[in-house]
Amino acid sequence: MTSAVLDTNPGAEPRTTYINKEYGVASWLLTIDHKRIAILYVIAITLMFFVGGLFAVLMRVELLTPQGDLMTSDTYNKMFTLHGIVMIFLFLIPGIPAVLGNFLLPIQIGAKDLAFPKLNLLSWYLYMIGAIGTLVIIMLGGVDTGWTFYTPYSTAYSNSHVVLMTLGAFVIGFSSILTGLNFMVTVHRMRAPGMTWFRMPLFVWALYGTSIIQLLATPVLAITLLLLAAERLLGVGIFDPAIGGDPILYQHLFWFYSHPAVYIMILPAMGVISDVIAAFSRKRVFGYEFVAFSSLGIALLGFLVWAHHMFVAGISVYSAMIFSFLSMFVAVPSAIKIFNWTFTLYRGSVSYHTPMLYALGFLGLFAVGGVTGLFLAALGLDIHVHDTYFIVAHFHYIMVGGTVMAYFAGMHYWWPKMTGRMYPEWWGRLAAMLVFVGFNLAFFPQFLLGYLGMPRRYHVYVPEFQVLNVMSSAGASILGVGYALPLLYFLWSLKYGKKAGANPWGAVGLEWATSSPPPTENFHETPVVTWEAYDYHGFTEAGYTEGSRER
């Protein structure tokens, strides 16, 4: 018999939750409640997502025609730079950990909060300084170096706000480091009685793996950006060949972070998918231990492959061969996860609610992105398609087809928990389909364009490529509609959505054993865990009396 505390009276009002416990702007801006901090993050991150999307829209409009008729090449450089910087540093890297991780990690392990609540608030403020700083930089004219800030262009030639932007990225990096540190200590030290490592949801394992990367990789980026800023400001030559520096050193140091960074972006997404697929198949994730260890494996192996971004930069061919081999290796744990999720579906009691639609979309799109990554790991092919749209398509399949889909899956799955309201299901399904169709139409043609030779970061192209470009831009517009819809109906649901009970999905997990929204201290009594993760088989014995699925 469990001692998980169920909210046995979900409909009764009034009830104190983390939302209505205190009112007033100060109670939010000075909060140390991880749930409120997650809400602060979701507002900021949503805004930045649309800012980054705006740059994408401008690029896709320009690319409707082969000529550069909407903007100059200098302006176009700023477009792809800012799209990259905003989407990567201000949306994808913080995204799932700062929003869903912050909200759910303590609850999923039965803790009252993260290990360092004030540090958590500091993380948010650092993020906001970086975000507002970036908006200011955009208004001052932006940056045109590419999000990669390659030297010596960024240090010696660019006339844009490089120093400010690198310092902004430095600050955001610290936000990321502190979040990772907080999560790691929390998982090690604050699990509820009985919550052993192998009873934790796979979302927590994924966040743990992400935290390892955040701690080990981000500091190297931080020092590299400081060196870059110093070089630009003081004219000293660390990376500038004209004064004795080595631009390849910059790339080694930059990619030592930036490759693991892509695993910061995908690991939490994979964690969401594990939880969502289990819930909507009503089945334990197949091969739980394999998935858990794969999260760690991805985190660690991801550090060994960075120079596959530098195959044509001038590194030695022997080094390139080593990195090529290692890059093939790193695909293995991801593939293991895909197999495990698929086997979870098999003979599961599958239902097609919105979160599951996004999760199923993830399986297909991430698989395509991952497999094309293997193509790129092969030296010969990469030399052919490097700096073309093939690369752009590859990483968008992972980042958008993977991470963004998973983010939406998670937002829909946990929306009732966070807000106490259901979103309108049919609108959710419609938006999910639009996203899937729009995404493929936007990005599949880009594989073809890249293979045919269209270079990336160019605003002009030969007329033969126009049809595919128009298809891509059309897809992007459908995708945009698909993204706008949830913004609208989520906001709508806050006032008019059906009130949610503690466990509207009938899912297994400590978060479903407390009210929707939860009280500030998460649980009225510290839970003592006696059941395994995703114990759908023992569901009724576990005492989850809530949860006929709300259709």
């Binding site: 030290r189 004219g235 000293v236 660390i238 004795g244 050193l249 003592v528």
Partner: protein, 226 residues
Amino acid sequence: MSAEAHTGKEHHGHPRLQHHFESMAQQHEASSLGMWLFLTTEILFFGGLFVAYTLYRWLYYDAFIAASEHQNILLGGINTAVLICSSLTVAMSVYFSQTNRQRALVWMLVITMMLGLAFLGIKAVEYHEHFEHHLVPGDHFQLPGAPHLAAQAQMFYVLYFFMTGLHAFHMVIGLGIYAWLLIRAVKKEFGPEYYSPIEAGGLYWHFVDIVWIFLFPLLYLIGRHQ
């Protein structure tokens, strides 16, 4: 289901027990692990600079030797000794808080800070010397004795100023931390049940010492036998 055993009413414990922790032991372990993880990030942070240093020392070895000759071994050596002494006083500060020797604790914190200030003072003297001898990278850089290696020697000095500058910045932060610890120690906030800030501050200080332990031979003692 016995509800009383583990409700929030347990938090009648130590006044320093934070609301989200179950026990002082858990809080202490969290604090210690948290500081160690932060030091991990610092190791990687400084590590990037050591990679750059290694590359340029390998590429420009002769220039690095010529440049390092202008380093003041006496001052560098004294600074190394100063930091080692300060690590001792830091370790003793933990011991005294564990054994509830309040006055001794305060003295250790004070002496640590004085040693830290001494380190920064000596560093300032060195920087001044470098400036006087035209060893600051930029338009006025000169390398007497080996002018043909000047361009590459500048790389040494870029790294020297960056690495020791970043190290000194960390010392300043360390002084700030210790000032805060000192104020709290004077107010007798620490004792055998609660000294995790002293321990965490100590870990940070020792780390800064370790960075210097590597910087000293790498920056001051290159090719001295030649």
